[in-house]
């Protein structure tokens, strides 16, 4: 009999994050801990400071969690290889930002990942002109449920997971509610 007992292999971590619920955070922590040694590697290989390498690693783990949750990580490579490749790119991004003194949001590269270069340039140009401070401030004035739904979305939770968390009848209902929050935010920003 093998009941309630699990060993934490790469597969367990992936499934634990996909299943969500109360155990997800524990599996996220295990994922972070598993490849933490990469931070030290990056300080030698990329000549990044410990702090920059550590932030690039946290960004990597958050990205990998998002990809696992959304199904984008298809397990064609091992989890270790996947983490390593994303971390390598994050380190290169960090070096580029340092050398060009780019002060834009750390997460913008990740958010704009699905865009091709011409569209990306257009969007980045508009974002440079947007009032970042005002938008940050307005986000905090939204109602609690809106703030929670939007935070979960930015953290990479799927609408299905939010539907389960808040008792909505379907992922589509959770998405519609979340998008109404964004429309409300946009209306406030335009005033």
């Amino acid at each position: 009999m093998n009941f309630f007992q699990r060993k934490f292999s790469e597969q367990d971590i992936v499934e634990g994050i996909r299943l969500g619920g109360t155990k997800r955070q524990g599996f996220e922590n295990k994922l972070y801990e598993n490849y933490r040694y990469l931070i030290k590697d990056a300080t030698y290989k990329h000549k990044l400071s410990e702090e920059d390498a550590s932030m690039a690693y946290s960004d990597t783990i958050l990205t990998v969690i998002e990809h696992i949750g959304s199904g984008r990580f298809e397990q064609r490579s091992s989890l270790k290889t996947y983490v390593y490749l994303i971390f390598y790119n994050k380190c290169v991004d960090a070096l580029r930002k340092i050398s060009t003194n780019n002060k834009m949001s750390q997460s913008l590269d990740t958010v704009l990942e699905p865009l091709r270069d011409p569209q990306r340039s257009v969007i980045l140009e508009i974002i440079r002109k947007q009032d970042h401070e005002k938008l940050s401030r307005l986000l905090k004035t939204l109602g609690d449920r809106c703030q929670e739904l939007l935070s979960r979305w930015a953290e990479g939770f799927t609408d299905k997971e939010s539907a389960i968390e808040y008792g909505y009848s379907s992922a589509a209902v959770a998405q519609t509610t979340r998008l109404r929050c964004l429309d409300k935010l946009k209306e406030m920003y335009g005033k």
Binding site: S107, V111, P114, D144, L150, S151, Q175, D183
Partner: protein, 226 residues
Amino acid sequence: MENDTKLIDDYLGGMLSAEEMAVVEQRIMADTAFAESVAFHAQAKSILRDEILLDKHKQWTSQPKAKVPMFTILSAGIAAVLLLVAGWWFFAKNSEPNLETLAQNYIDQNLSTLPVKMDAKEDSLELGKQYYNEGEYTKALEVFEKLNDPKALEFAGLSALKGKKYPEAIQFFEKLSQNTELLENKGKFYLALTYLQQGQKQKAEVLLEEIKKEGLFGADLLDFEK
């Protein structure tokens, strides 16, 4: 505006087909108002993700690092470890834990804390979670009982379970398991755990078999033969 918001959401989420992507890409280049909406959507997500990243970074970097033992200490300890492992293997092989112990282990390892949002305001659900995480199960139960929400019902059941109020926990979990509108219902699994805590092994086993057969929450943890 609503339709555009959904289109943009699916675009940034990588959910569009190649044809739909091409249409959106064309609109970004030709329609300034649409491009501004895409930029707004992306900027909002990026600001929120930055905040989450900072929180996670702080939390992860404060985790204690797994220490690598010195080679010399390892060599000195190898013989003792081998003996311990052999002893443990022999013990484990001959004393498989019973269902009740495994259920208790599951409760201890997975249900001791409820996830609390780092920046959550103190609404009632969060207040209840705080009481729960501090071991104040009676207070937590009082808070969750007053809320009309499936999540609160689940947490009320867990508070009763942790507070050893098993008949109450059974009532909450039975009610939860009857809710057919939830995408994921933990009612039956928690009900089985409660029965095991009460020593009602037969009732628990019937439920666990149902969970496994129907692929309900907890099915992935079950690999048992009667």
